[in-house]
């Protein structure tokens, strides 16, 4: 079972709420996915409104809301947003996203580290979205992050695990859960992330923009379960076993 802070998760598929063609369809897909941690952009919801359309459709006992700070450009704005969210949504969980670059939405490592230090002092459960940078992940862990969320490839790109070599290092070194976020375009990408030992994946675009988001949500659910099962069953090492046609060491027998 996966534990983050004081919560135990049976599903290792985390999901997002953006880009769906309607809140009703979003709700159906998220329920079908079995996801227990669902991220929602603070800028999309009216935090003062208990009847906010998006929030109403996420009102399920198994779903924990993970507010995210998408849109903020620095640590100061992120900390301010986090405090508003904690008060309005009554959760101290936060997906910390600081991307000053609005084109590729690349996360700012310096501001993210600064904000993590500050928010940890303020008692938040912080899940920072960052590059697949192993050193940064260790620094965030030391600063008090509850998990790290390195990207597989640029957000919304559906390009899969372009950063796999670095993800493997992060997974090997991390003492907090590693959630592969961003770029997971197909269930096979999610399965691969789980096979290499990721603790969970976060998927949004690939489900929201699919022809049938509900069916795609189920496909991801199965892929994540399969990938995790394969990891736990201990995959055989990939071996490149060459049989040389002219042995290089045969001469030793002749000596």
């Amino acid at each position: 079972m996966l534990t983050i802070a004081d919560k135990i998760f049976t599903s290792r598929l985390f999901t997002g709420t953006g880009k769906f063609s309607s809140s009703v369809l979003m709700e159906k897909a998220l329920v079908a996915s079995g996801s227990e941690l669902v991220t929602v952009a603070l800028r999309r919801v009216d935090m003062q409104d208990r009847q906010d359309d998006l929030l109403l459709h996420l009102n399920h006992p198994q779903i924990i809301l993970l507010p995210n700070t998408s849109g903020v450009r620095n640590a100061k704005e992120a900390v301010f947003a986090a405090q508003l969210a904690r008060e309005a949504l009554e959760t101290n969980w936060l997906k910390l996203e600081i991307h000053p670059d609005p084109k590729y939405l690349m996360p700012d490592p310096i501001e993210t580290l600064k904000a993590t230090e500050e928010l940890a002092r303020l008692g938040f459960v912080i899940l920072p979205y960052i590059h697949a940078d192993p050193v940064l992940c260790k620094r965030l862990e030391e600063a008090g992050a509850a998990a790290v969320m390195p990207l597989g490839s640029p957000i919304g790109s559906n390009k899969g695990l372009k950063t796999i070599d670095f993800l493997e290092i992060i997974i090997e070194q991390s003492k907090v859960p590693v959630i592969v976020d961003a770029g997971i375009g197909a269930p096979s990408d999610a399965a691969k992330a789980m096979e290499i030992g990721a603790d969970a994946v976060l998927v949004n675009t690939a489900i929201a923009v699919a022809g049938d988001p509900v069916a795609m949500a189920i496909a991801f659910k199965m892929a994540v379960e399969a990938g995790r099962m394969a990891f736990e069953a201990k995959l055989g090492d990939q071996k490149n076993r060459a049989v040389a046609s002219s042995p290089l060491t045969a001469f030793l027998d002749e000596l």
Binding site: K19, S21, R44, R73, F80, A81, A208, V209
Partner: protein, 368 residues
Amino acid sequence: MSFKEIFEQHKWDEVKESIYQKTAADVENALFKQKRTLEDFKALISPAAAAYLEPMAQLSQKVTQKRFGKTVQMYIPLYLSNECTNICTYCGFSLDNKVRRRTLSEDEILQEIAVIKALGYDHVLLVTGEANQTVHVDYFKKVLKLIRPHFSMISLEVQPLDTDEYEELIPLGLNTVLVYQETYHQEDYRKHHPKGKKSNFNYRLETPDRLGKAGIHKMGLGVLIGLEDWRTDSFFTALHLDYLEKTYWQTRYSLSFPRLRPFSGGLEPKVEMTDRELVQLICAYRIMNEEVELSLSTRESEKFRDHCIALGITSISAGSKTNPGGYAVAPESLEQFEISDERTPAQIAQLIRSKGYEPVWKDWDRFM
């Protein structure tokens, strides 16, 4: 360094000629590659690309959904003033249009806001003419303070300002500034803007640089289609965008492509752009730039807007009035242009849903 230096390296006639010389092979090459250059953009807006409209539309829809999902943002203009000291040949607010002018007071603005809020809006675009004696930075500051508590996102489409003036407005909640060059054809620009501060082509051309330096969150670019060859003007828009994205990399960008509309005392378009050509331009912008926001106003007809939602447009207005006081206090005041699509915001939201998209009323917050 500003865009002016890059602009001056490109001669209008040469650009125009190179666009018109693009071939079907250039278009195919531009369509099927991964990373595109401005030369590819020329091919996509060229006459040769007209034969590829359907594949362009398919690609545009696909990449738009990848980035923006199945959502369309809703915004509405709020005209604050139609006072203007410029003469512009194509605009209802032009100084030589002898009609009574008005600038809304704080009390009148609140009445307008009440109507707009009741329509469901949370993103507002403030619009004025250029009247520096009465509608100046202090007026904008007053207005921003007044309306900030009511909206999550505030945009401004007014006269170009200096960098330090933008720096004063941004902390008061100014998120986005739209500044359209109207045309990048310098001589033609002079013809259409014979009098007033707007006649200074270079000051307008360098406005996005001043906005970028001031650290604006988002800026909108565009030309008024109908003044000059739209293909060449659109190339310069794309060139401008390319420069700005690299220089002010923390800013978001949006593009508009307003076609000249009738107004009282109006000018006939010099260059017509067909619906088919506007679709080509929308798709070309999207294929060239997957991240830029593309906005469509009520200038366009109902049927055209109905179908453009799925083609690459990411934000849309509805129920717009283009005159100060148009929503509540002075419905009969002078309007900037006649709108074409007169359906209500609720009807447009329903239309968006029927196309399989979600209308998004709020996508920003005051804390940002």
